[in-house]
């Protein structure tokens, strides 16, 4: 009789409630099952009962960490349905905010991952660095979390001081490449905890439908920004980091390199950003129809399906968040690993349970 250890729903390793039942032989994991739904607020149900304006605010609260991707994806769905174009300046502003959000999300993740391997000093360093990008987001939107930037037809606020954004982004790129990446990739204790741990093979990544950095660390070069560019991404140069190993260390490396790529994108976007209006005059009227919308969030592909009957309330909004796709891959990853690795492996997916549950 192997003991079943239940982690959660409230566990210090987890910012959010979820349960993972781990079956152990000694310290070795022989089976695991994940239970979600603790954050289930039936947002999709609520969305069918609120108008589009209220829905934008509602979906901002799918997740407090990647709130911008949700409003962006929903706004794009509404724009596609209504057949309206977004002013060019707004497209660039959206890119800047989306990449700034990726920066803060990746730094947050790096911090939490360090905390999980007990490296508190590096956790603090990551969060210290993250405050720089939080300042940028606050300067642009007025908020540290939940930026309320997107609306159908454009963005709500202009970037008043592009120079400050550039300076902050350059400082982050500098600190990342000179301090964060060297420590993460060379420290012996970090390597001992990450390399070869929690491997997701390429075949499993496809079968489980992994997206985002998780898929890219397993050798799948998928990125919506490159494969189906939206907003201004087709006019910006960036690379999609891909690793073949599929272990925790590969996911660390992919995200670290993405931090640098995001800095590059923001720099280009600020420099290329044209003058002009940043939003349309009116809220659009949404005709009947259905539409899908996808963007690349920090954790991977975000998918929205919106169906409208022509009224001011959608008849169905379906959200497939990246963690919903990624989370099942945790099971093949933890099998055969030690119990001490389980929190780190699940964290290496950059899970967001409030996204998953909605």
């Amino acid at each position: 009789m192997s003991p079943v250890i239940t982690m959660g729903p409230f566990h210090p390793a987890l910012e959010e409630p979820y349960k993972i039942d781990v079956v152990c032989e000694g310290e070795h994991v022989t089976d695991a099952s994940i239970r979600v739904g603790f954050n289930f607020r039936a947002i999709e149900w609520l969305a069918e009962r609120k108008n589009y304006t209220a829905d934008i605010a509602l979906f901002e609260h799918v997740c407090g960490i990647c709130s911008n991707v949700h409003t962006l994806c929903l706004s794009r769905a509404i724009e596609t349905l209504a057949g309206i174009e977004v002013p060019e300046r707004a497209q660039y502003i959206r890119v800047v905010v989306a990449e700034a959000e990726r920066l803060h999300s990746h730094l947050l993740w790096a911090g939490i991952a360090c905390e999980l391997i007990g490296f508190e000093t590096l956790f603090m360093a990551c969060f210290g660095l993250r405050e720089k990008i939080m300042d940028v987001l606050e300067a642009i939107s007025g908020n540290r979390v939940n930026y309320a930037m997107n609306r159908p037809g454009g963005v709500n606020r202009d970037i008043a001081d592009p120079g400050a954004v550039l300076a902050a982004v350059r400082a982050i790129a500098d600190a990342t490449s000179k301090q964060l990446i060297p420590v993460l990739t060379t420290d012996a204790t970090v390597r001992a905890r990450c390399a070869g741990v929690g491997v997701l093979t390429r075949a499993d990544a496809i079968a489980y439908g992994a997206v985002g950095p998780t898929a890219r660390a397993s050798g799948l070069p998928q990125d919506i920004r490159a494969s189906a560019p939206y907003e201004a991404y087709d006019r910006l140069l960036f690379e999609v980091p891909v690793r073949q190993e599929g272990d925790v260390f590969a996911r660390v490396v992919v995200r670290a390199l993405e931090i640098l790529e995001s800095c590059r994108i923001i720099e280009q976007a600020i420099e290329q950003m044209p003058a002009g209006p940043f939003r349309g005059d009116d809220y659009p009227k949404v005709p009947a129809g259905e539409v899908c919308s996808r963007i690349e969030g920090p954790r991977g592909e975000v998918f929205y399906y919106v169906a409208s009957d022509g009224s001011d309330t959608p008849t169905r909004v379906r959200v497939r968040t990246p963690t919903f796709a990624n989370m099942p891959t945790a099971r093949p990853m933890v099998l055969g690993q030690t119990f001490a690795d389980v929190p780190l492996i699940q964290a290496s997916l950059d899970p967001c349970y409030s996204c998953t549950d909605r």
Binding site: V36, G37, F40, A42, E44, W45, L46, R49, K50, T80, I206, A207, Y208, G209, Q222, I224, S227, A228, V291, C292, S293, R294, E301, F303, Y305, A307, T315, R316, R318, R320, F324, A325, M327, P328, D357
Partner: protein, 155 residues
């Protein structure tokens, strides 16, 4: 493999429509397991499955696929409330099917078990269907629990 060749292989090229958000096609009598196997062998990524009630009292299921970056939306209709499961072919579909059971009490045939995903263990499936009439007029001060309590007092 690209979306057009897939549509050709499925023999639904003529019915398919290309929109800004990808390819759309309605196949009322879709062989979902055949489709899933084809997609699996061609490495077309399973994106997700959307379920939504249709006006006729049945459900419209849309299988979303990513073929070389292009979105392929293959819709079908479920009138009897059950459809074949593809979770054994695509482990990625496991959670979505469980979720759809929680929301609309749809039955996916061929699964050994369909545990709840979002609801508590032992809850009746079909939360969205059961509560579809509720909450159209939301008073932010009144939560569903108050409504339930009021109902209990009345009865």
């Amino acid at each position: 493999m690209d979306a057009e060749s897939i549509l050709h292989m499925l023999d639904v090229e003529s019915a398919a429509e290309h929109r800004t958000d990808g390819w759309w096609v309605d196949v009322p009598d879709l062989d979902v397991r055949g489709l899933a196997t084809l997609m699996r062998t061609r490495e077309v990524r399973f994106v997700t499955l959307t379920g939504t009630p249709d006006t006729a009292g049945g459900y419209r299921l849309i299988y979303h696929w990513d073929a070389d970056g292009a979105l392929l939306n293959i819709a079908t209709t479920v009138s009897a409330g059950c459809i074949a499961s593809i979770a054994d072919i695509w482990p990625a579909a496991d959670w979505v099917e469980r979720e759809l059971r929680d929301y609309y009490a749809l039955v996916f045939e061929g699964r050994a078990e369909t545990p709840t995903l979002m609801l508590l263990e032992g809850d009746e499936p079909g939360l969205f269907s059961r509560t579809s009439a509720a909450g159209r007029e939301i008073d932010p001060a009144v939560t569903a629990r108050d409504a339930a309590e009021a109902e209990r007092k009345e009865s």
